[in-house]
Symmetry: C2
Subunit: 282 residues, 2 copies
């Protein structure tokens, strides 16, 4: 496994065999089983697998946790090697945003709601860095976790609109035994918060169960889920959503599919989760 922060190394390795397929797994490091599930899938589907580890400053607001975002490069590299990565790109800010940098990729409508409403500059940072990584690695397939659902919707839109020549592969959220979605930010939780944090997955699962049982009124679904979050004393709701899976527009009446999503604060730690529901074909 080659580890480099050098763009020429990346280009060289990528184009040594021009016909080979490459899978890309972009990460901010501090890897957990969610990330590794993406690497394993990429390993199974491509000739070569590249991962990137870079805590991207442009997707953090000044008030957010950029400086304290957890990092553990030796552990990350051991996990990536074990999962079969061939190449790990570990750039720093001087490589990704050199002096004079001034170009941004912006996706409009689908970034304005949910995470984008709470974090107005976040997705511009995500789409810009991912466009750069796509151009640096030029992967055949790029792997992202469903955990960051809106991110996957935004990036799909970018790939379609800018005609990137790659397939977006969205992989299922990996969860702890009690249902909590794996996240590098879970380490911020104290034991009581960690116990309370199961409210996200329990609430979303209850929403899916209600849909499964025939509920189609999105306001009733939101109210029911909101009440479940409110019942957890350590949780402070940011948003609860019943939306169209592609546009993320809030639904009034659910037709045959919806994405249920929520963001919840535990003191300063903000957790997100989502579940996708599609009516089974009969």
């Amino acid at each position: 496994m080659k580890v480099t922060n050098n763009i020429q190394d990346i280009r060289h390795m990528r184009w040594q065999q021009p016909a080979a397929t490459w899978g890309l797994v972009p990460t901010m490091g501090f890897l957990h089983e969610g990330h590794i599930s993406l690497v394993r899938r990429a390993r199974a589907e491509n000739d070569f697998v590249a991962a990137t580890i870079y805590v991207n400053p442009t997707q953090f607001a000044p008030t957010e946790d950029l400086s304290t975002y957890p990092r553990d490069l030796p552990h990350d590299l051991a996990l990536l090697e074990a999962a079969g990565a061939d190449l790990v790109f570990t750039p720093d800010d001087s490589i990704m945003y050199p002096a004079g940098f001034q170009t941004y990729v912006t996706v409009e409508e689908v970034t304005r709601v949910l995470e984008g409403a709470s974090r107005p500059t976040h997705f511009r940072g995500v789409t810009t860095i991912v466009a750069k990584l796509f151009n640096l690695i030029q992967p055949t397939r790029a792997y992202f976790g469903q955990k960051d659902y809106q991110q996957t919707a935004v990036l799909r839109q970018m790939v379609t609109d800018l005609n990137f020549n790659l397939d977006m592969i969205i992989c299922p959220t990996v969860r702890e035994a009690d249902g909590l979605a794996m996240s590098s930010r879970n380490k911020y939780l104290d034991p009581a918060q960690r116990a309370g944090a199961t409210v996200l997955s329990r609430t979303l699962a209850a929403g899916v169960a209600a849909l499964q049982a025939g509920e189609r009124d999105a306001n009733r679904l939101r109210a029911m889920m909101q009440a479940m979050i409110a019942a957890e004393p350590l949780a402070r709701l940011d948003y609860i959503s019943v939306a169209h899976p592609r546009t993320l527009a809030e639904l009034v009446e659910v037709a045959d599919e919806a994405v249920l999503s929520t963001a919840v604060f535990f003191h300063r730690t903000r957790l997100i989760d989502n579940m996708l529901w599609q009516e089974s074909q009969s």
Copy 2:
């Protein structure tokens, strides 16, 4: 020479020989010797040459000449075939901007002056369509004329910032015998305007001659050139500039290089031209 508006055809042809080099010449059609000089250079430097013909609506303001922009596809295709193009992509708006399109590439500082100041939405349209064409063709080299100098500076910045894996090749402006820079918009000029339009190249050449003779005060240069434009009765000056060739910031004192540029109206027709000056190495 294959002519297609189909993206799958493009991908197929581009990747039949993954190791081959490709040159790309993006155009809005109504081709003249300036465009063809780019195709010939691309032909000489690459295994395959792709040209694109697409009048891109997002780079026109509502008040501009989108609907009347000149078009002559049969003539364009004959010229491209004669110059040795292998592939011509001729999409329409439904292919380039399908319903739901919402992603834009924006370059900041360098787009705010000169053409960008006069045409505030222009460069966002240019960078977005060129990013799309880069991703569709995935060229080894992309060819642009120096005639649209700021466009080349903006696109260079985009290529650097977003890490596009290609070389930008900027080719000299091709001129009529009397010095007028070739442009599809020259056909809008009536005979008197056409005669007066040589004021652009005469003025810029006088600026270069002054620099060559040792003038380094940018205000004096601008004043001298402004007076030359003012002396042409059919001309109405939009801007005259003595700027840094990469950032396009206006200079106070010229050091060892500058780009002189101007935009001039003849009634409703707006012409641009530029000349680059670099101190000869002694």
